[in-house]
Symmetry: C2
């Protein structure tokens, strides 16, 4: 009651007597709910306070509809809408907070000074914001809901009204921008040049290479109209640019002096998939780079394929702190039309699935033959030589992998090198006894530190919004995964020590606030990167099992593992492994092994043939049930995205 | 005859007697043409020499078809195809060159040493290359042909098989990349964040703002199919992103603390125009950035509009060396749905036309009302406040303007700051008497200098291809517009002086080749930038005429000028000025005033109301024929792209 009195700004608070209720809300006692406000619109003399807990609770709650012999279920957004319609503002009050252990700073002078009305609006708005709440879903209970909740609440992604397309907000786009800069420099140093080929591709060009188009045709989006006019000839939207670019390669390349031709472009492509989309991971439009190079010899072509793969591994390991396995795809899994495909494979420990991180293809002479790319033999004018091509792509999927690998039940965990904000500074410890001067000094010091760190290229933000409590701000930046949080209070100011919370492992650190502070923080950020990488690497190591007998295969798979198993090289075994593991999983299906709704029926695919082959494959037989062929290679098997 | 003998590698050359012709080509004397080779396929004992002039000539030439009482027209590509089909290689010989004044270095040891066969192939390939020839069209005779020839031969653009779409090759894309980096940093410092919104927009969103969609609807491309399936609901491709983004702005923006919202994206947009496309200038797909910001007050919104316009002016003036006029568009010319539009206007002196360089719009509250973007009034909870928006875009049109402003009859002229190669080094003066050691020293020194300059961030390329003559290489880099060419010969090596040719004004400079060489060249490049800017500024100044009487209007316009003329502010006068100037131009049409096919019938549009208004508009009447209204402003009028 005291709290209500305070929040409503009234004195001498009492329950309303019958007549007052009748006059103002036209309901009897026991039937007073927000719904009764429909009868108060003209008088408009009611102050509405709502318990903050209502907003935290995803499920609907029960209210009487102006009479107490009926009930109805309402969600908080519905209630909010109802109040908006009537023109009522409301104030959210954290009634639970009084009982709960107090946050460092409970009341701030700023809050006190704000007029009640302003504050009420501030509180209401605060609770409407994107990141108002912690993450509701857990990784363990529902991974895919956790994922979508995290990327939306961390303001990486906004859902969009064209299915399979998503808005990449600045917090997500910054990661991509960093990848662009890093990998852009990498290929520039190699000698690859940037260019831009059109979004549209004619039907004629698109269909030139048979295997390739078979792979992509069902997903090509077609423009058939402009304004109100039908186009004479529909144009496709590139799902990738091989068939867009290579007719022109044929035109440009005449002699060995035109080689190598090494082009790259950063663009958007469209693959109109009909399967369930997942932001970043599987979307109808995505951003990527695609490189397309032509070399006179197969060896040079392959060398570049591998140099690019190293670049992709670098993006994952050095920027995103995600370990990868480099390897070659099987014939079944290779790029449509390629001679062979190399890949960096990542591992999502929470669901025990692999995820293809980026691919670099050696196209051999296949496309060159189709698109008349050839040169005169410098040794013999009468002959032509067909050069060798490669193509390679890295997409915004990188961001999704990063989220899945590092995120925890509190939200996103950002690897420092790609985080738009690396360090957030939040003033704490402002209490009733804090003087205005002390408060000002604290805020000024926070800003000074922010400036100093930014000057040293440590991306820092001092969050000084005094209309949000420190606890709210802690939560906000935690959901967004900011690597380091500095809690700056009078104590820190006095002792010249910074209290730091490390997002990825929850550790608390103390760093001397002296002339070396930027250096110390830079070192700490590097340590965070290394720690995150090592944590992810350990997860992958402990979830990569060597299995040589079929008897262990599916059970191990269902322990959220990926498997290194011997394979004879036959595609039929590859198909069978998928089928058998799916069937056995279904049979063994139980709550324990189900990590999400899709998993149980999903069989194991070959993720890659790792370049680093463990010893001892000689003498083993293929892992596939019933196959007695000698094994040729260790293959990495697993469920995958 | 001597030349043929030499080129064919034969001795004692004679005309073939009747029997030899009959046996080998099955034709009579007087009927010997390449067509006769159809009868030589088995023997295959003919050496084919073609005059290089054939390749230079765009028009077909006449050949007898194995008999000399018939003739047929053949183009060089057809002839080439014919020879290819038969399996004949040929050698291009510049028979005309013997008479023409010799290039600095005529014969090089390298050429001498190459076996005849290899050299023949080299020569043939050389002539097939993109930049084999100088520019055939002149600015004066046919500007639009000159333009397309320059951008293709300089390897900026390749024509594409979907109309209105073009391939931007590395030499062109580098300019865009530089603009992205520069302007990207500019807005980042302002506090604008990068993001990415989808390519597709639903019909529903697209049609929300009426004026806006009226402006864009006829040009929207629609995807109606994916693979073989018809989409339930067609999706449009963004012509710009206001209607893509603003529904989400409405969702994100709740309180004044969510403002300002300042987002930018670099992307591709589609406007399916049906008028004649011009690469870079008017294309169906183009690359641009689009910024979209929301501010609580109109003043803040306008301040940003102008700060962005300054950024655009900086791109033109500081990077592209193109002067601009900043101003405001008239109501007629403003962006569909905007409150007002500001613009940077450029001037293409060669055709006397203006070209809109980039626009920054204040959208007022118009879109906010349509898309429910509003915040609660912090002073009064019951009220909402509608914020103010702006949007602004700069596209790859910049590159087209740059080409048109600076190019000359020798080809492109690149402003140094955006040129992928700023300095090209070409070894010269290698003669018969040059020893192999001297030659090697020269090449090594060229490479050493290349490395030294690149290290100092002067983008340098040593063109050491000894299969191309120095003259050919001079021409190659001249067509591409490389700002500086260093001609490095034994003399320069000895005297420690660099001989430099400056592309934009044809001047020759000498620079001491000492420890300050990188500094000297960096200074020279700055000088080139300033000189190019000043030249373009002078052109614009001398072609901007102040005209207050209608009697002078059209005649001045037809002298390739833009006009500063007083205007009463009525849209009817704006329409009339366009109509009248078009009619009068048609009437006065003569060879002298026609700069290209489209110009004569084109009337003058208002380019902008310049921010810098000359004095003296008071007391003047509107320039429009018959209008007696007092003038309100000076307006810049002209033909435009």
């Amino acid at each position: 009651m005291k709290r209500i009195q305070k929040e409503a700004g009234t004195k001498d608070l009492r329950f309303a007597p019958e007549d007052v209720l009748a006059e103002n809300l036209k309901v009897i006692q026991g039937a007073v709910t927000p719904f009764a406000l429909v009868n108060n619109v003209e008088k408009h003399n009611v102050i509405v306070l709502l318990d903050k807990n209502l907003t935290d609770c995803g499920c609907p709650f029960v209210l009487h509809p102006c009479r107490n012999d009926k009930s109805c279920l309402v969600t908080f957004p519905q209630l909010e809408q109802f109040l908006n319609k009537l023109g009522y503002t409301y104030k959210l009050v954290d009634f639970g907070a009084e009982a709960a252990p107090a946050e460092p700073a409970k009341k701030q002078p700023a809050e006190k000074k704000a007029p009640a009305e302003k504050k009420s609006q501030a509180a209401a708005v605060e609770e409407k914001g994107e990141t108002k709440l912690g993450i509701q879903n857990t990784i363990e209970s529902n991974f895919s809901s956790w994922y979508t909740e995290v990327i939306t609440k961390a303001e990486m992604i906004e859902y969009y009204d064209v299915s399979g397309c998503y808005i990449i907000r600045p917090w997500g786009y910054y990661v991509w921008k960093t990848i662009q800069q890093h990998f852009g420099r990498y290929i520039e140093r190699m000698g690859v040049e940037d260019c831009y080929f059109p979004l549209f591709v004619s039907k004629n060009c698109l269909e030139r290479e048979k295997d390739h188009i078979e792979g992509f045709a069902p997903e090509v989006a077609w423009v058939t109209k402009a304004g109100d006019s039908d186009l004479e000839q529909p144009v496709g939207i590139r799902p990738t640019s091989e068939t867009v670019m290579y007719p022109y390669y044929g035109k440009w390349i005449r002699s060995h002096r035109d080689l190598p031709l090494r082009l790259n472009q950063w663009n958007n492509v469209i693959r109109w998939e009909f399967s369930h989309p997942t932001p970043f991971i599987r979307t109808r439009e995505f951003l990527w780079q695609e490189g397309h190079c032509v070399w006179p010899t197969e060896q040079q072509c392959t060398e570049e394929v591998l140099e690019i793969l190293d670049g992709y591994a670098e993006v994952y390991e050095k920027l995103l702190a995600v370990p990868v396995v480099k390897g070659r795809k099987t014939e079944k899994e290779k790029f449509a039309g390629a001679y062979f495909t190399t890949t960096v494979e990542t591992f999502i420990g929470s669901v025990g699935r692999g995820c293809q991180g980026g691919t670099s293809h050696n196209l051999g002479q296949n496309f060159a033959k189709m698109f008349d790319i050839n040169i005169q033999d410098p040794e013999n004018n009468d002959k032509t030589i067909i050069p060798f091509q490669n193509s390679w792509g890295l997409s915004t999927r990188t961001i999704g992998v990063m989220v899945m690998v590092h995120g925890d039940n509190k939200g996103l965990v950002m690897p420092p090198r790609v985080s738009q904000v690396q360090v957030v500074i939040i003033p704490v410890g402002i209490t009733k006894s804090t003087t205005e001067e002390e408060r000002q000094t604290l805020l000024q010091e926070a800003q000074r530190l922010e400036k100093e760190l930014n000057k040293a290229d440590i991306r820092t933000k001092a969050d000084l919004r005094d209309n949000y409590s420190p606890g709210w701000r802690f939560n906000h930046w935690e959901v967004k995964g900011t690597p380091l949080r500095i809690e700056l209070g009078p104590k820190e100011l006095q002792e010249k020590q910074l209290a730091i919370a490390v997002r990825y492992n929850g550790e608390r650190r103390t760093v001397a606030w002296d002339g070396n502070v930027t250096k110390s923080l830079a070192t700490l950020l590097e340590e965070v990167h290394d720690g995150m990488f090592e944590k992810a690497r350990q997860t992958r190591l402990t979830h990569t099992k060597r299995v040589t007998d079929w008897g262990d295969f599916t059970a191990t798979l269902n322990q959220k593992c990926i498997l290194l198993s011997p394979w004879c090289g036959e595609m039929s075994c590859e198909d069978n492994i998928k089928t058998f593991s799916a069937e056995e999983s279904k049979a063994a299906q139980s709550e324990e092994v189900r990590e999400d709704a899709r998993a149980p029926s999903m069989g194991a695919k070959s993720l890659c043939i790792p370049f680093e082959q463990p010893e001892g494959v000689e003498g083993l037989t293929c892992v596939c049930k019933g196959c007695t062929n000698p094994a040729k290679q260790w293959v990495l098997w697993g469920r995958s995205y």
